[in-house]
């Protein structure tokens, strides 16, 4: 197991470095230099050169990258052009909001997705199965931003049950969590269903039934344990995705999380903030996927052997 963990970490690390390099190059070759963005139009051309020199923008790109990485390792991602504050501080401020939203959304996804998947598999090819599967396919097909608007209109404006935007109490997170969770619930339901159906074909399930065990016992305590392995991995990956990926949901519901600051940085062409937040999000997802892999290996010894 230890060998497997080390191997998996050794794979993740170069990817992280490559990701940051690609990101750095892409964001730093943009035409239109940051000084103009920072100072707006009214700045003398001579001054631009002075600032460029001072900010180290005239150095070769790999030197700039090297400096960036060294600083990033110390937790310094530079300063936001627009907000004139440390990028790392801005990210740390935004992250708790994203964590909260991710947890709520994950809970929605699990409480809907797993039972829906189990029911669909047990009642395979019935109306219940079709209804659940259509519902979950709808979750995957739904444009998140539009679903968000629709819910705001329906539940916040028309019915007045919930607030439209904001982040002041758990009530504010209900709509965003449903919007975000539905999507993940769809994936989880489909995965649970297909895995359960696969497992139910095994001989040991037939043996369990032949012993005269009730269908519920067979499904829950014999089949489900094995069927859930890939689902658990998927869940871990989704949490990583939710932690980093609630870009649309956060912008619509006005939650100042990571996704929101990324979109804002994009809009104001605030390069250091964009770079810092995208890098942070990607790192979370890479690490999350690594944890998912390790979790899988931990739960299923067969993986560790190869």
């Amino acid at each position: 197991m230890a060998k497997y963990i080390i191997k998996r970490i050794l794979v993740a690390f170069p990817v992280l470095v490559a990701v940051s390099l690609i990101l750095f190059i892409m964001l730093n070759v943009v035409p239109g230099d940051p000084v103009t963005v920072m100072m707006r139009e009214h700045i003398k051309p001579e001054l631009i050169e002075v600032f460029k020199e001072r900010m180290g923008l005239n150095e070769p790109i790999f030197v700039q990258f090297g400096k960036y990485v060294l600083n990033a390792l110390r937790g310094d991602f530079g300063m936001s052009y627009k907000l004139k504050r440390d990028v790392s501080a801005l990210i740390l401020e935004a992250f708790p909001h994203t964590i909260k939203l991710a947890i709520y959304a994950a809970l929605v996804a699990w409480f809907i997705g797993i039972p829906a998947g189990i029911f669909s598999a047990v009642k395979q090819n019935t109306l219940v199965d079709r209804a659940f599967m259509s519902f979950s396919l709808m979750g995957v097909s739904l444009p998140v931003f539009w679903a968000g608007l629709l819910m705001q209109y329906l539940f916040a404006f028309k019915l007045g049950w919930l607030p439209v935007t904001g982040y002041y109490s758990p009530k504010y997170y209900v709509l965003p969590a449903i919007v975000l969770g539905w999507q993940s619930a769809g994936t989880i339901a489909r995965l649970t269903r297909s895995n359960l159906l696969e497992v139910m074909k095994n001989d040991y399930i037939r043996t369990a039934r032949a012993k005269g065990l009730g269908e519920a016992v067979v499904v829950v305590s014999h089949a489900l344990k094995n069927a859930m392995l890939p689902v658990v991995t998927m869940m871990a990956m989704q949490v990583a995705g939710l932690l980093g990926g609630a870009v649309m949901t956060e912008s619509i519901f006005g939650i100042p999380g990571l996704g929101r600051i990324t979109v804002d940085a994009m809009g104001t062409r605030d390069m250091p903030l964009l770079q810092g937040s995208v890098l942070f999000i990607t790192a979370i997802i890479i690490i999350g996927n690594m944890v998912a892999d390790l979790l899988y290996a931990f739960l299923d010894p067969r993986i560790r052997v190869e």
Binding site: P14, V15, L16, A18, V19, I22, L23, M26, L27, V29, V30, P31, N125, S134, L137, M138, V140, S141, L142, P143, V144, F145, W146, A147, L149, L150, Q152, Y153, F157, L197, M200, K201, I205, R206, R209, G241, G244, G245, V247, M248, S251, T262, V263, M266, G267, R269, L274, V278, I281, T282, I285, I286, N289
Partner: protein, 312 residues
């Protein structure tokens, strides 16, 4: 058909709850000389939802192609007296904040979605296929470089990577094209590489090699056709994803730029009027949902139908 009769009979003669899955209709009809396309045809006949989805997709593509003939209005012609007009006989979905006919703009928006669904996806898949074939066939350093690059691309959340690419290229439809193509090749490459690896060991490739057939011919004439089922399945996954990504990017204001139209952009532009004129923002979203859902239902059916080919 004898074949299928025996299968059904066997299935009926067994006690019902032995845990055996019911013989699926599609498999029961599988004959030896059946092609992939036959299986898809059978699936379309059996799976009503997939068939209906197919019809919806064809209709929407036709609507995109013949948009000018389906509406008397121009998509960009403003008319201040019709500003935010509610749905009426003349304007089925009313008019937007500049008095442009909303339905007309949605029809033209279909073009963007169809194009985005097909063009960058196809480009990305062609690139991915060639790279995947090369990685699987040559192995060694080529394989290592291509696959590590794919790993890096797949490590990015695709929407964020697309955002960064559009940031670099300053937005617009072209940058969405490039952004989506840059993101989507990696998955194709990975799948095709795996398929190539297993095909490389097959006798027919060995035979071609011993006859001295050129490497490129082996790759494209002998191995590629065997990747077709995988490619079709990937296509059914990639198209709806690309359509959704375009809509999201346009909604964030980094995709299609006004005055050109796109469903995502229309939702974005009509968002401020959500509470007074809800139909404006809701209608384009419904279009996105129907289009993407149709692709997903069809894709689901196709995946089921091609299942035996994929296990190869």
């Amino acid at each position: 058909m004898q074949n299928s009769d025996i299968l059904t009979l066997n299935n009926q003669s067994l006690p019902p709850d032995l845990g055996l899955p019911p013989a699926e209709d599609i498999d029961a009809e599988l004959l030896d000389n059946e092609t992939m396309w036959d299986r898809i045809k059978i699936m379309l006949r059996k799976n009503k939802l997939a068939a209906a989805s197919f019809v919806v997709i064809v209709l929407m593509c036709l609507a995109a192609a013949f948009a000018p003939f389906l509406t008397p209005y121009e998509p960009n012609k403003t008319s201040l007296k019709d500003r935010l007009a509610p749905p009426s006989r003349e304007h089925i979905l009313g008019c937007d904040e500049l008095g442009r006919d909303h339905f007309t703009r949605m029809l033209y928006g279909t073009r963007v979605s169809v194009m985005i669904g097909l063009l960058p996806t196809s480009v990305a898949m062609i690139i991915g296929t060639v790279l995947g074939l090369m990685a699987g066939f040559y192995g060694g350093k080529i394989d290592f470089v291509i696959m590590r690059l794919a790993d890096v691309v797949l490590a990015f959340p695709s929407l964020l990577l697309a955002m960064v690419v559009s940031y670099t290229l300053k937005g617009g439809i072209i940058s969405i094209f490039l952004a989506l193509a840059a993101v989507k090749w990696a998955r194709t490459a990975r799948v095709i590489r795996a398929q190539t690896l297993s095909m490389k060991e097959k006798e027919f490739v060995e035979a071609a090699r011993s006859l001295g057939v050129k490497k490129s011919t082996i790759m494209f004439r002998h191995i590629l056709p065997n990747c077709l089922p995988n490619l079709i399945v990937l296509l059914t996954l990639n198209i709806p994803e690309s359509i959704l990504d375009e809509a999201s990017l346009s909604f964030l204001g980094i995709g299609a730029q006004p005055p050109s139209t796109s469903w995502g952009l229309m939702v974005f532009r009509c968002k401020p009027f959500l509470f007074e004129y809800p139909w404006l923002a809701i209608a384009p979203g419904v279009a996105i949902l129907i289009f993407v859902l149709a692709f997903n239902f069809l894709g689901d059916g196709v995946r089921d139908a091609l299942d035996p080919y994929l296990k190869d």
